[in-house]
Symmetry: C2
Subunit: 338 residues, 2 copies
């Protein structure tokens, strides 16, 4: 968890996840283009240089989290990659606003969604190409949806989507299409494999159902839930009696912004406000610190809980769904004092 005691995740420590293979290991900028087609007035073919020079450069600090982050902790077990808590990272992404690109192409009447396809193409015909979609209203309303070409001030690393990837702040990584090559504006809701049946959650307020059951109706996964983690000390650490120990960690949510973090050193009976670090924006990790002077030797369960600006927090019981998405149960570490 050491990378989650600080706000920005280094590029080399950022998680990597692909859906189809082979994955592109090099991209020739001489031939790479971002094509915008479909229900637009002026179809476009943009080079990376076009992206950099024809549109304002915009930066947003945002968490990119796999929908299945922490999936391995669900009971009952769920299918899919058995991630621990590492499938998340926070970076400053910079690029062109997607709405500026679509405006340049001229969205026509009746446009409902845009679809996004990257260079990763399945080698077996039975595997559906990885294509995602977003509502045109979301794109045009939200100045933070980017086609990013930089990550923490450097060109996008190959495994993080070079030369350009979609950045959809507040939403799960499944929408952050890498090696983006094709945007098509369409007049309907896209329902091919990776939007339906894949990456869907129960259609209710919690995205959850009773463990072991199936939902009656589903919707595409979207906004991230509130989460908070203790980055330091790590679970199992020994801390001295009678001397202050500084605990550190991060919290984040789907874009309302972290307003408050509480820490409990008695397993969740009494809680105190943690100190919040610098506000890097509503989509970013928010660092927190908390100083604790343990009074007595023994075991201690340290618990953390965050609140976003609209009052959403984390519950004591994990919420379950068949794919193991949206996990945001209150987290803890057990320490040995003395």
């Amino acid at each position: 968890m050491k990378y989650f005691a600080r706000a920005i995740t280094p590029n080399e420590a950022f998680f990597v996840r692909y859906h189809v293979f082979p994955i592109p290991l090099e991209v020739d900028l001489a031939t790479w283009r971002l094509r915008i087609t479909g229900r637009v007035e002026r179809p476009l073919e943009l080079t990376l240089d076009d992206l950099r020079t024809k549109f304002p450069r915009v930066a947003v600090t945002a968490v990119n989290q796999c929908s299945g982050n922490s999936r391995g902790r669900f009971t009952p077990r769920v299918l899919g990659g058995q991630w621990g808590d590492g499938a998340m990272g926070n970076a400053e992404w910079a690029g062109a606003r997607l709405r500026d690109i679509l405006t340049a192409a001229g969205v026509r009447q009746g446009a409902v969604q845009a679809t996004f396809d990257g260079l990763d193409k399945p080698s077996f015909p039975s595997v559906p190409d990885f294509v995602k979609s977003l509502d045109v209203t979301r794109i045009m309303d939200d100045p933070d949806v980017l086609v990013a070409y930089e990550m923490n001030g450097k060109p996008l690393p190959m495994l993080n989507g070079y030369p350009a990837r979609l950045v959809v702040p507040g939403w799960y990584a499944t929408y952050w299409v890498k090696h983006l090559s094709d945007i098509e504006v369409i007049d309907h809701v896209f329902e091919k494999f990776w939007m339906k049946p894949a990456y869907r959650i129960p259609d209710n307020a919690c995205g959850c159902v009773a463990p072991g059951t199936a939902p009656a109706r589903t919707v595409p996964i979207n906004r991230m839930t509130v989460r908070s983690f203790i980055g330091s000390p790590e679970g199992g650490s020994r801390v001295p009696t009678g001397r202050p120990v500084t605990m550190k960690g991060i919290a984040f949510d789907g874009g309302h912004g972290i307003q408050e973090v509480q820490v409990s050193v008695d397993g969740g009976t009494t809680w105190q406000a943690a100190n919040l670090g610098a506000d890097l924006g509503r989509y970013s990790f928010r660092e927190w610190t908390f100083s604790w002077t343990p009074a007595r030797p023994g075991r201690a369960r340290v618990v953390v809980r965050a609140f976003n600006a609209i009052g959403e927090s984390q519950g004591r019981q994990p919420l379950w769904n068949p794919a193991g998405y949206l996990r945001n149960v209150i987290e803890h570490v057990d320490l040995v004092v003395g």
Copy 2:
């Protein structure tokens, strides 16, 4: 606030709110009928006796809260009745399941919503009749949506909707149509006055916009937000130093159920778990108590915050919308110690 230190609100203390006048002051059971028409196989005309005898009697304890409850506390001010916090109550409602009634009528293919009309009819032609609607899927999925004829074990009082009213647990009172007389199953989304433009909220996760602004898109108001109140002692009370004082109150939400209540006696810096009272169901007020022995004379701000089963809580800043709906900011009382 004295009625909000206990779980069940007496019938005579329950708030009353109508939309159109004149209101019915008596109903003749010899002529009153509940008519089910529209997209059904068998239109029905039910007497109160039919409701009581032809369908299983089902009881649910549920909060009925006006959408504009606490509206008077918003800054900037909003239009509408300037309620304090009194426009809410909790009762045991008993009646027939709406889905049993619709099943008896036989919902036909293509049914989308049902509309609900009561005996209160406007006397001026310029005032739209008060008609609300619900999705047929909600009605058929939810065994707790009732046509109620009893309230706390007695016939429904006249001002609470005699002889029968719709009970939509977890949703605001605007759907709980009184003196219910007509249910029509329709093949589209109903958008007459009291669904659109009235009783709508911003179409986003918080139902909120920046104070003083208007939302771009709206949806009908629906599920209630998490709230908690201190019923006793009342604000401004004097409590002795060095002797325990028992604080009491209630918490509720839109139907996930209250999982936890925290109390702070220092204005929100440190928090402790309150004791939860009996669980009367996920739609009910949940009583809480908290014992506090003030150590020092002076002023004390007591603050309460609730969490529901999916981790939703209350924020420190009120969320604003033009109609003053969904208020759920953290509440406090100021006490004098000594």
